[in-house]
């Protein structure tokens, strides 16, 4: 949709698309459908050669005389299956577990020079406090967001996003060969933080508040979890005209 607005205002555009069925409906001017999992628009992290193949193919669409152009990138990346591992004995306390992972997290940040942690604005050295906040939220207690423009649930969601980012980066440092689904499987099945965060999710999902239920869906979902938004959709609520 963005591409259409840009093109209509006199710019030439080319886009990477991750969902062919939607792109067929939206009809942007030039799209390269890349059959890669969501989150991997350029295909492979730390593989400049592969990323350049994607970009070269995308930019070649600029030379087409007429459109719309929707072409498929020839290489497909199917989401990796994460092995389901038996639950081992978990550390008893998520906050203790977080402290134990700090050394790996700090090394990841030192190696990469960046971190995805930061949405709450709470420094990671203070994350034990965020863990306690989430535990209170999971237990049904009221919590307060630090600023009035954020709801408590949205703040809890950012806290989950930050802590997950911390755990994921610590794990990537410890096991560099693991892919995203494998890291997720570890987080949800073998850590103490995973089940605690799942209880945060459960409280949100049972809230009866559509917005809070949607926030929960971004935290965790089983493969057979229906999108919570579906129960709020009626045939007339599904708009296909973008309006």
């Amino acid at each position: 949709m963005l591409a259409r607005v840009f093109e209509a205002s006199g710019l030439s555009s080319v886009q990477i698309s991750l969902l062919r069925e939607h792109t067929e409906k939206i009809r942007p001017p030039r799209a390269l459908f890349c059959p890669f999992p969501f989150g991997l628009a350029l295909g492979k992290p730390n593989d400049p050669e592969f990323q350049h193949r994607v970009l070269d193919h995308a930019f070649s669409l600029l030379e087409r005389p007429s459109g719309p152009v929707l072409e498929d990138f020839p290489e497909e990346i199917v989401p990796a299956d994460a092995p389901v591992t038996p639950a081992e004995e978990r550390p008893p306390d998520p906050a203790f577990e977080l402290t134990a992972l700090r050394g790996y997290y700090d090394r990841f940040v030192a190696h990469h020079g960046r971190t995805a942690v930061g949405l709450t604005g709470v420094p990671s050295t203070r994350f034990r406090g965020l863990v306690r906040l989430l535990e209170r939220y999971a237990a049904g207690e009221e919590i307060e967001a630090p600023t009035p423009d954020l709801s408590a649930a949205q703040y809890a969601r950012f806290a989950c996003d930050d802590i997950k980012a911390f755990f994921r980066e610590a794990r990537m440092e410890q096991y560099p060969a693991e892919n995203g689904p494998q890291i997720d499987a570890w987080f949800w099945q073998q850590t103490a933080m995973g089940p605690m965060m799942r209880r945060v999710r459960d409280r949100m999902l049972a809230s009866g508040d559509r917005q809070v239920e949607m926030l929960s869906y971004g935290i965790y979902r089983e493969p057979d979890t229906p999108n919570p938004e579906w129960k709020y959709l009626t045939p007339t609520a599904v708009k296909t005209d973008g309006g």
Partner: protein, 160 residues
């Protein structure tokens, strides 16, 4: 997303029922000159912003149709992603920003002479919006105008 045949039914249904615009025509602006002479900007719907910028917050009452400006020379360490759903694999962008936002690749293409120049500013929007009306009518045209003021001729768009 890979071809939908690889997905479990629930996931496939979610993809197919997510509201997408249906259009019957396509605006078309042919590039005025080859890419090696053109000025290019990167625009992403990955919900990226500078550390310290307000995060994107979407809800069903009001999808977050705002945008953030990202100076093209923003260091990777200063870029955060507040589109952080379990619906996609975040390990890629955590390992390498270029997985979603290929600034280093674009700089390499610039050095090779494959791109004429890069814009001073790139832009980011929130992804997975269920209603794009205000984006289409207000913020996307505003960004288009900013891009044209920057002399941009070609835009590369990336999702997450």
């Amino acid at each position: 997303m890979p071809h939908l045949k690889h997905l479990p039914d629930m996931k496939r249904n979610e993809m197919l029922t997510f509201p997408a615009q249906v259009n019957h025509d396509t605006p078309w602006t042919p590039p005025a000159r080859p890419l090696r002479e053109a000025r290019l900007a990167l625009v992403t719907s990955a919900g990226l912003h500078r550390r310290g910028d307000p995060p994107f917050v979407s809800n069903h009452h009001e999808p977050d149709y705002s945008y953030r400006r990202l100076p093209a020379d923003t260091p990777a360490a200063e870029i955060l992603q507040s589109h952080a759903s379990a619906g996609f694999d975040r390990s890629g962008i955590q390992r390498d920003l270029n997985t979603t936002y290929p600034v280093d690749r674009l700089r390499e293409l610039l050095m090779r002479g494959a791109i004429g120049s890069l814009a001073d500013s790139f832009y980011s929007f929130m992804g997975a919006l269920r209603n794009v009306a205000r984006l289409e009518q207000e913020t996307a045209p505003a960004v288009a105008e900013l891009l044209r003021q920057d002399g941009v001729e070609v835009v590369l768009l990336t999702p997450t």
